[in-house]
Amino acid sequence: MNRGYYWLIIGLAIPAFLWLVPTLWMVSLSFQPNEVLARTTSTTLFGLIPIPFTADNYAALFSFGQTPMWFLNSLIVAVGMTLGVLAVSTTAGYALARLDFPFKNAITVICLIGLMVPEQAVFIPLYTMFADFGWHNSYHALILPRMAVPIGVFLMMQFFKAIPQDIEEAARLDGVTWLQIFWYVMLPLARPAMMTLAILTFLYAWNDYLWPLVSAQRQEFFTITLGLASIQSNFAQSEGLGRVMASGVIASLPVVVMFLIFQRYVVQAMTVGGSKG
């Protein structure tokens, strides 16, 4: 390690701190009393240090208001969507990568061409369809459209293709069926790829805004992302700045914790999602 390296560390500290300031500020404001914030947000060091300190905003959040319900909705939708995407993507990805069947190339192309269609190009017809079915304001309305997106199939297909062929052949000679191979041999091998896909889907579900905005009109079916949008326009008057900021912290907590624990997978998932989805 030379001197240049230490200068680099010190030089980077400034942009890194600036990058962190907005997030820090949100956390700090969420721990300050609403009465103080209504007067000034700049009490101690521009408000970056929560003095005077209070945890009342969080207590209020969980004793009344809709944030806990929205949080729960987000969990249900995100877990449901993750399980659904994993189920359809692993099966289809395996079939496309390892099995032989008529029209295989054509079906593969048809499956993957959907990667070109952005959500914004289909949300209007999806809205009318779900309205015809009477499905809006339900969990399945929030979950189902994402299961149709081929990114997961693409990811799993790439993974299964890379597994050596002889594993399957050995199992076939022992008289094991294709579905058993899929379930007992391939799925355990695919755990890392499934983990990446699960995190990608969970993050997407947790943070998605446009489709829940269109589909969930009743507050009981808001996700936390949508709920937060609905209270942020009039934060100063009704709820109090501190409480809105506390909602923001709560809304971010699951994904931030997930990020810190599974950093490697999250980065990989977002790279795959960013470059193909």
Binding site: L37, Q120, P125, Q263
Partner: protein
């Protein structure tokens, strides 16, 4: 042989494939393929959301009229110098793509992409209403223009910042890992959290930025409601939000550059900025192209930032395409016109997806 004889009830390979593919194909057909074609079908109708909800027959087939009503106007003419700045850039771009290809400085794909984009830049801004004419939809093209301005600021901003950061952080040490985590963190927040934070950051009365400028005696800027600053505010927010992915892609690209190249360069006294310019940049060309294409796709679909921070204002200066589609469909109930705009969006995004696919393919070779 024994296995085959014993297994009359077992699935053949094709049957197994069918069973495994069915769940995905069913959801795919129902929730992506069908809606896509239904979207085209809606765009060919005069379709009022509320009227059709009460009476399914209240729609009327109008052919391509919606596309005309969105993108065309009365007495539209074309002039080679209708909006000179853009068109001259287009001409320069056409010349540059031919020249660069002749010199062998860029690949065929890049040259064609640049050429097509330049031709479009020359042709499209040339259309304008002639005497006594006007666009049927006065807001559509300005909205597309705002979206392009947003893309034109965000994409280079994200790309350059991410590239410099990645080059600085490209060492496997503890400190660098911590920095990477810090810079990536904002990326995983949802758009509503990001806009919540920055709305208040930019607030002239409570905002952190205003608090700091006031301490130093400046008067606070009314970021989100001033025509000069609203777009800038959204661009800053977006760069802060979406730097992470680009940085990670660059870090991955940097890993592939051989250390020998830098050692050889060091012998010629090329280190630091010089090495970055002569070794890092040329070897990262593919990754840079990929990041730019991805960012264009991502940022062109901007919605939440404009919808939540500025409501498209002030005076429509931050009205962007997806927000206009959303409003036309769900505020004005004009599903036909909104679907025509959505198809316009799809064509642009589709072109970039193909470009992304081609660039990705070149990567594999």
């Amino acid at each position: 042989m024994a296995a085959r004889g014993a297994s009359r009830r077992r699935l053949t390979q094709s049957q197994a494939a069918f069973v495994l593919l069915l769940p995905f194909l069913a959801t795919y057909a129902l929730f992506l393929v069908y809606p896509f074609f239904r979207g085209i079908w809606i765009s060919l109708h005069d379709w009022n959301l509320l009227a059709v909800a009460f009476n399914p027959d209240a729609k009327e087939y109008v052919g391509l009229r919606n596309y005309e009503r969105v993108m065309w106007g009365r007495n539209i003419t074309w002039g080679a110098l209708a909006s000179p700045a853009l068109q001259i850039i287009g001409v320069i771009g056409i010349a540059a793509s031919i020249f660069l290809r002749r010199m062998g400085r860029v690949s065929k794909v890049t040259a064609i992409a640049l050429g097509v984009a330049s031709v479009l830049l020359f042709v499209l801004p040339g259309f304008h209403p002639g005497e006594g004419g006007r666009w049927y939809d006065r807001r559509f093209w300005p909205t597309v223009g705002n979206t392009l301005v947003f893309v034109a600021w965000t994409v280079p901003g994200v790309t350059i910042a991410a590239l410099l950061l990645a080059a600085a952080l490209n060492r496997e040490t503890k400190a660098m890992t911590v920095y990477r985590t810090l810079f990536f963190l904002s990326q995983i927040l949802s758009v509503t959290v990001v806009t919540l934070i920055w709305q208040i950051m930019f607030s002239p009365r409570q905002g952190l930025i205003a608090n700091i400028t006031e301490t130093f005696g400046g008067s606070p800027i009314v970021w989100l409601t001033d025509e000069r600053f609203a777009m800038a505010a959204i661009v800053i927010t977006t760069i802060w939000w979406s730097l992470g992915i680009a940085m990670i892609l660059f870090l991955a690209g940097l890993q592939d550059i051989s250390k020998d190249l830098y050692e050889a360069a060091a012998l010629d006294n090329a280190t630091g900025p010089k090495a970055f310019w002569y070794i890092t940049l040329p070897n990262l060309k593919r990754t840079i192209t990929l990041v730019i294409v991805l960012q264009v796709i991502l940022q062109f679909q901007v919605f939440g930032q404009a919808h939540l921070m500025t409501l498209g204002g002030p005076n429509d200066t931050t009205q962007v395409l997806v927000r206009y589609i959303y409003q036309t469909a769900f505020r004005d109930s004009e599903l036909g016109r909104a679907s025509a705009m959505a198809m316009f969006l799809f064509v642009i995004m589709g072109a970039f997806s193909i470009l992304q696919f081609v660039v990705g393919r070149e990567d594999v070779k």
